[in-house]
Symmetry: C2
Subunit: 277 residues, 2 copies
Amino acid sequence: MRNPAENAQLALLLEVTGTPKPGNVDRYRDYDDLRFEHFMAGSVGAFDGLCAAADGAPIGDAFERAVDGMADQSGGNTQFGALLCVVPLVRAAATERLTPEGVAKTVEQTTVEDACGFYRAFDHVDVAVDDPPDDLAALDVRRGRAAVETLLQRELTLYDVMDRSADRDGVAAEWTSRFERSFEAAGWLLDDDGPIYRRTSRVFLRLLAAEPDTFIITRNGRKAAAEATARARDVLAGTEDPEALAEEFVARDINPGTTADIIAAALFISLERGLVV
Amino acid sequence: MRNPAENAQLALLLEVTGTPKPGNVDRYRDYDDLRFEHFMAGSVGAFDGLCAAADGAPIGDAFERAVDGMADQSGGNTQFGALLCVVPLVRAAATERLTPEGVAKTVEQTTVEDACGFYRAFDHVDVAVDDPPDDLAALDVRRGRAAVETLLQRELTLYDVMDRSADRDGVAAEWTSRFERSFEAAGWLLDDDGPIYRRTSRVFLRLLAAEPDTFIITRNGRKAAAEATARARDVLAGTEDPEALAEEFVARDINPGTTADIIAAALFISLERGLVV
């Protein structure tokens, strides 16, 4: 029987394995500089931090350790957002409250120290993020640990930080909405059948069709995100070939990374709830 | 910096990712009941035993723990042979003697207790093996822990057990030959360049072209093993397409599993020696 940290590591591996996931690295597709093998190494490196999350370390410290280990490969950012989703879920599972209510309590109990850990994590890896609003410039995550003093002055918890980003970041939105999409997608995975790498693809397309991917908005703009959503709907309607779309989106560097992050969370929840591998 | 147990886990993941590896599960190919996702789960489950190997547990106990964890998925035997190669290499690396001489010492120092652990490991998973010679019937590995009394009576160490199988099992032959092929293939991986999943394929084909795969001999017979070797040579000579061969061998269930086991060992050694992922 796998423990929560092991299921979280397996969720990271199954996430990147799922194919086709148009625009993502998957079992069949690499970007030149960001390859499947980097995600394997990222999953190996993250495990130590996932164990810390299960063992009761502060969430921010556990997240920083997971990101630090994940970053020990040459592909850059592979699973930052996925870990930001999965770390509080691991803690919730390890404390026997892996429900929307239980996870909500877990994230609401985060502290200013947790926020500091989150900011320090940005020192380990380059993450694509938006410019913050002017009044939040001192809290630009790209400042990394340099922003810690501001966090302490303003007494912002990690939950507060997520709350301030929830309108423009799909992972932060999970933190402030009881991980609603993650739990819903976990149900889809459990209700489906067949090999998991195909279930993962189907659930990915449903999530992408339902909401614009905020990682695409950040990197490619709103128009590209709207196109990705529309074309995922076309795949679900049977009027677009997902394999061809996957080739096209990789060629155009349109990467629905936030949707992949939520898939990792959904896989973790479904493994904890009995998904058989 | 990954420790030896982490590099061993990554080696298992990179092994199954390498493609094309004609006849093996790989990044692009599954068998119906033995799929890529089972190898992912096997790699997650094996880690605890790999840590035990690094931390100084008896080799037989560490191997049994790794196999027990590996078997916690529905695909059956994914990495039994790979773990039998990798566990002593992890111990050697953790004690700073990951050289042919150092590994030879490590395996020669195994005990009767280690042999018992090896036999107990067969209770966790079905492994395809040959019938033993008549005088070794009491030591048929398929007897699992029922063979332990015989091991104790005859005072056979795990090295002794491997020595008795070395003429018909390619993994046992590594144990008794200073892991010669594993170290040689690690050099090939390090001397090559480009994505690791392609290097892995090239090294796999070189190993398969050089010697008949004993797992094919066990499951399909000597003629099939000779064919696999000949056709791997054709791939190296440029007269056979490796992708087509991979499709054909999966369809015919000709699986060079021992070659894959040695690839896992070679990947581990190359990671310890600086292979950059």
